[in-house]
């Protein structure tokens, strides 16, 4: 691709194409659909953390007027689910697990029907089970610690966080003959098509998945969940369209969370700051089932963020009787970053070193895990540089904290395809991906406009429908744009040359490693009498390759930092130990940041085209802004108070002295 300065549509802050539809209410989400004779479904959920269903009687629910279908283990097909379970299993492993479902003419009638279902549960013991450690290592860890002149050894914990997508999980299922259409809120229309077809024993061509718009996914919507199959089965049973949208508490019980971790960490370094050994043992609470999708890789960053010859990182999955964990915006890395970057701050203070100097001393120029050089060797240095200018030493009672990060994803990859059709002096761009909310439509239209030398308004983007679209990837791993932009370029080039406008994503470079990375600095004020933390400012610099649309990158940074602010300060799923019931599966006591909590966020990223990475020089920025914020805030809180909080969230009681 040309240099940024020579580009037309790419690099411009174009407002989102779908913006007017969203603010005017014209944009249709999965739960907005109203089809003729449509029914509404509700799900009965298990009240116990571990139980065997010994009897279920749905006859009274079936007899209720305006109830058209009831499903439970008594009549549902044996659809395998999770690693070892079924759609409606008789062994239930967490409070909130699906027991039965009803489709009725209104949500209220469906709820009435649920109350008429009689279930006997036989309680089973509640216990945690730790799996075998998964160990990744290099060098000689014992020798590394013998060489060390300074050692930091601490335990850090991160809490279970809830995605709380503004739009909950949900879908509307409609059959036409033996073909199923699912209007779904998903990050992966093709992934859902594949999974649902397999679960229902249909060929993939018989399943169409549509996601026109979505109100958040954050990783929790990258797989097919039970509600989609339940809606499809209820629709088949009733012969009518069925809409199943999860209530807020179901959303927070049964369709994913960020796994809690306990990380015991040892860092060894020489007096000049050179790291000689990194050792971590991470216990990861995965919940009752392995949900699938992107894995939570807690050990990954320990192997790559800093140059260190001796590393031992082990991850132990612990199964519990809680709702299953699922990918949550930078799964594993956000949790690990809090521990590693807090420990690096502790090390810097012990050594009396500037925190950025310490990081530069241990700068990694090669991917030590994959043993390949990075495509953009200097980009993290540039991020440090961008941050450094923004902060001077702060006044007393204010604190400044710094954290760096890397992220395993963001490079994009094949398969990803695009189709461009020229017509009426403009072009139609057909993409089989979906806009998770990042502005995929707009960014891809800019790529096509650039290549076709057309004004943006001459590009019509069709996105979010598996019917007739070429394959599009799941919006996960900050990869959508980096995967699709090269395919769109190729398709546009073909169309411009008069050929069929099809483009495919080429593979990533074989001998180099593509990473995303960045750094953030936080300024906080702490009231030591009341424990109140006020985050005053966050400066964020992230390497996302070429910036296609600075407005969209700003949105990702604001959103990621805001979500991380909750992770750092206020968000935590609270479970009553005695009953296994989640006490704050709602937006009242699960405290997301409000507008009043969000500080000034300065976006200091540079466009750093990574032309070795792919044909568009683009990398992702969906997840990175969330990764270093919690550590930066914790480090700033220490700077302000001298109190090192090693357990997230940093709530008042940890700071009142």
């Amino acid at each position: 691709m040309k240099r940024d300065a020579e580009l037309g549509a790419v690099g411009k802050p174009h407002p989102r194409l779908e913006g007017p539809d969203k603010v005017s209410g014209r944009a249709r989400y999965a739960c907005d659909l109203r089809l003729p004779r449509q029914l509404y479904a509700r799900v009965l959920r298990c009240p116990l953390p571990h139980a065997r269903l010994s009897r279920i009687d749905t006859s009274r629910a079936e007899g209720l007027r305006a109830v058209h279908a009831v499903l439970s283990s008594a009549n549902a097909p044996e659809v395998p689910w999770y690693d070892t379970s079924r759609l409606f299993d008789r062994e239930l492993r967490f409070v909130g697990e699906e027991v039965a479902a009803v489709a009725a003419e209104s949500e209220e009638i469906a709820e009435d029907a649920l109350r008429l279902i009689a279930v006997d549960y036989e309680p089973l013991p509640v216990e945690e089970k730790a799996g075998k450690p998964d160990v990744r290592q290099r060098g000689d860890i014992a020798a590394g610690f013998r060489e060390a002149q300074v050692v930091i050894e601490e335990t850090y914990t991160t809490q279970t966080a809830l995605h709380n997508c503004l739009e909950p999980h949900g879908c509307t299922a409609v059959w036409e003959g033996d073909a199923l259409t699912l209007y779904e809120s998903t990050q992966g229309i093709f992934a859902v098509r594949e999974e649902i077809a397999a679960k229902l024993g249909l060929s993939e061509e018989r399943v169409r998945v549509v996601t026109e718009h979505m109100g958040g996914g954050f990783g929790s919507k990258q797989i097919a969940w039970k509600h989609s199959v339940i809606a499809a089965l209820l629709a088949r049973q009733s012969g009518r369209a069925v809409q199943l949208v999860l209530e807020r508490d179901a959303e927070n019980l049964a369709v994913g969370n960020r796994n809690a971790t306990r990380q015991h960490l040892r860092l060894g370094a020489k007096r000049d700051g050179t790291l000689t050994a990194i050792e971590v043992s991470a216990r990861v609470e995965q919940g009752a089932y392995l949900a699938g999708g992107e894995a939570s890789d807690v050990t990954g960053t320990y192997l790559t963020l800093y140059r260190c010859p001796n590393v031992r990182a082990e991850q132990i999955q612990v199964s519990t009787h809680r709702g299953p964990a699922a990918a949550f915006r930078a799964p594993g890395y956000a949790e690990a970053n809090f521990a590693l970057e807090s420990a690096m701050d502790e090390l810097a203070r012990k050594l009396g070193m500037d925190p950025i100097e310490l990081r530069l001393r241990n700068y990694a120029e090669v991917d030590q895990d994959q043993r390949k050089p990075y495509t953009s060797v200097d980009s993290l240095r540039k991020c440090y540089q961008q941050i450094r200018g923004h902060f001077q030493k702060s006044a007393k009672k204010y604190g400044i904290g710094f954290a760096a990060h890397d992220w395993a994803a963001g490079a994009g990859h094949p398969p990803a395809e695009a189709r461009v059709e020229m017509a009426n002096g403009g072009a139609r761009l057909v993409i089989g991906a979906q806009d998770i909310g990042t502005g995929t439509r707009t960014a891809l239209a800019q790529i096509a406009a650039e290549e076709l030398k057309l004004p943006l308004e001459k590009i019509i983007v069709s996105i979010g429908d598996t019917r007739d679209a070429p394959y599009g990837p799941t919006s996960a791993g900050s990869s959508t744009l980096a995967s699709l932009a090269p395919a769109v370029r190729a398709a546009a080039q073909a169309a411009k040359a008069g050929r069929e406008g099809l483009g495919k994503r080429a593979p990533n470079p074989k001998h180099k490693s593509v990473r995303t990375c960045g750094a953030q600095c936080a300024e906080v004020e702490v009231d030591s009498e009341t424990g109140e933390v006020t985050v005053l400012r966050i400066v964020a610099a992230h390497d996302c390759g070429r910036i296609v649309n600075p407005l969209l990158v700003d949105s990702q940074i604001s959103g990621g930092v805001t979500q991380a602010l909750g992770f750092a300060l206020t968000e935590e799923r609270i479970v009553d130990a005695a009953s296994g019931v989640v006490l704050n599966a709602n937006l009242e006591e699960y405290k997301l940041p409000t507008a009043g909590d969000v500080p000034q966020i300065t976006h200091a990223s540079l466009s750093l085209p990574d032309d070795e990475a792919n044909a568009a020089g683009i990398k992702g920025v969906g997840e990175p802004p969330l990764i270093p914020t919690a550590a930066a805030i914790a480090n700033a809180v220490f700077d302000a108070t001298g109190i090192r909080v090693r357990e997230l969230p940093i709530s008042r009681e940890k700071l009142i002295r």
Partner: protein, 321 residues
């Protein structure tokens, strides 16, 4: 939510004809609807009283009258309240969110049920809902009471109630049997086995209005609230302080804490530590400590003691001339 019938009678006496144990009056609905959605209450009938009770604020030489249907937003914005009852205006301003303050009425605000996450969770039983014991006592009680003997350990959620109590407000109640006026300190009474609610309102009784006595010359007041985030959260701890000063000498002091007990909690020993004295740093410190001296924290809420001490001291500091 379960089905219910909706009634909008045109007179208050018609409304009273509906009121019984199976019926709920509907005003702002901001608490009632959340209780119904969680199936904690399931009234067969709702009676709209929005057109039947007084709304608005009347200020006179004899004090202030606030109609039961007055919204929190109207209290927050009222000039007389802001001038003479500053703590009340501030309490209204930091309650809930603008959307809720536009809907919520002062009558409903006083009657709202606790936000205790055991009480509110339909999957769990608790003493206040008629169960055997309080699961918060040995459970997740970070948000719970540090005063009061139990058996319920929920805290009262209202921001306005402590401020109103600190101004010696009276609540005017009406039922088919007639009217009665109760000081808030009597209206709010700890629940007991025979009455598992936080107040003495009868099922067929409505709050009509609130009356606040006039504030003598030299009266100053403030409301401070600590939350888990900057806005839109119930109080971890709140303090309403009303002082009448002659110079630096305290003639009269009322201090009522929120977020620490199942009802608004009068800090009588703090008041005693202040009256007759000056507002020296040592006095304020002594009063703040006295406010908490009978607290009995649970396993996860001991932080409320230093937090409340700090808020009481700061509230008093802010009132010192």
């Amino acid at each position: 939510m379960r089905a219910f019938s909706y009634h909008a009678p045109s007179t208050l006496s018609d409304a009273f004809a509906f009121l019984d144990a199976r019926t709920r009056p509907l005003a702002g609905g901001t608490d009632l609807l959340t209780l119904m959605k969680a199936d904690l209450v399931a009234p067969e009938r709702l009676v709209n009283v929005k057109a039947l009770l007084p709304r608005g604020i009347a200020a006179g030489t004899d004090g202030l009258t606030i109609g039961a249907l007055t919204t929190l937003e109207e209290i927050e914005k009222d000039a007389a309240v802001a001038k003479r009852y500053a703590a009340l205006a501030k309490a209204a301003a930091v309650a809930a969110s603008p959307q809720l303050r536009n809907m919520a009425t002062i009558g409903g605000n006083l009657l709202q049920r606790p936000r205790c996450w055991y009480f509110r969770n339909p999957r769990l039983d608790c003493w206040l809902k008629g169960g055997e014991h309080c699961p918060a006592r040995d459970g997740e009680n970070r948000l719970h009471a540090v005063f009061g003997p139990g058996p319920c350990h929920a805290v009262h959620p209202s921001d306005l109630a402590p401020a109103l109590a600190a101004f010696d407000a009276q609540v005017l109640l009406r039922s088919p049997r007639g009217e009665r006026a109760l000081p808030l300190e009597i209206f709010f009474t700890l629940p007991s086995a025979g009455r598992r609610t936080e107040n003495v309102l009868a099922p067929d009784e409505l709050i009509v209005s609130l009356r606040l006595p006039p504030t003598p010359e030299g009266t100053k007041s403030v409301y401070l609230k600590a939350m888990d985030r900057k806005q839109w959260a119930f109080a971890l701890v709140a303090v309403a302080a009303v002082l009448q000063l002659e110079g630096r000498r305290v003639v009269h002091a009322h201090i009522v804490l929120g977020g620490v007990a199942t009802i608004p909690w009068r800090a009588a020993s703090a008041e005693r530590a202040l009256v007759g004295g000056d507002l020296s740093a040592a006095t304020l410190e002594r009063a703040a400590a006295a406010a908490l001296e009978e607290a009995l924290p649970l396993a996860h809420n001991a932080y409320k003691l230093p937090l409340a001490r700090a808020l009481v001291r700061r509230a008093l500091e802010s009132l010192a001339p």
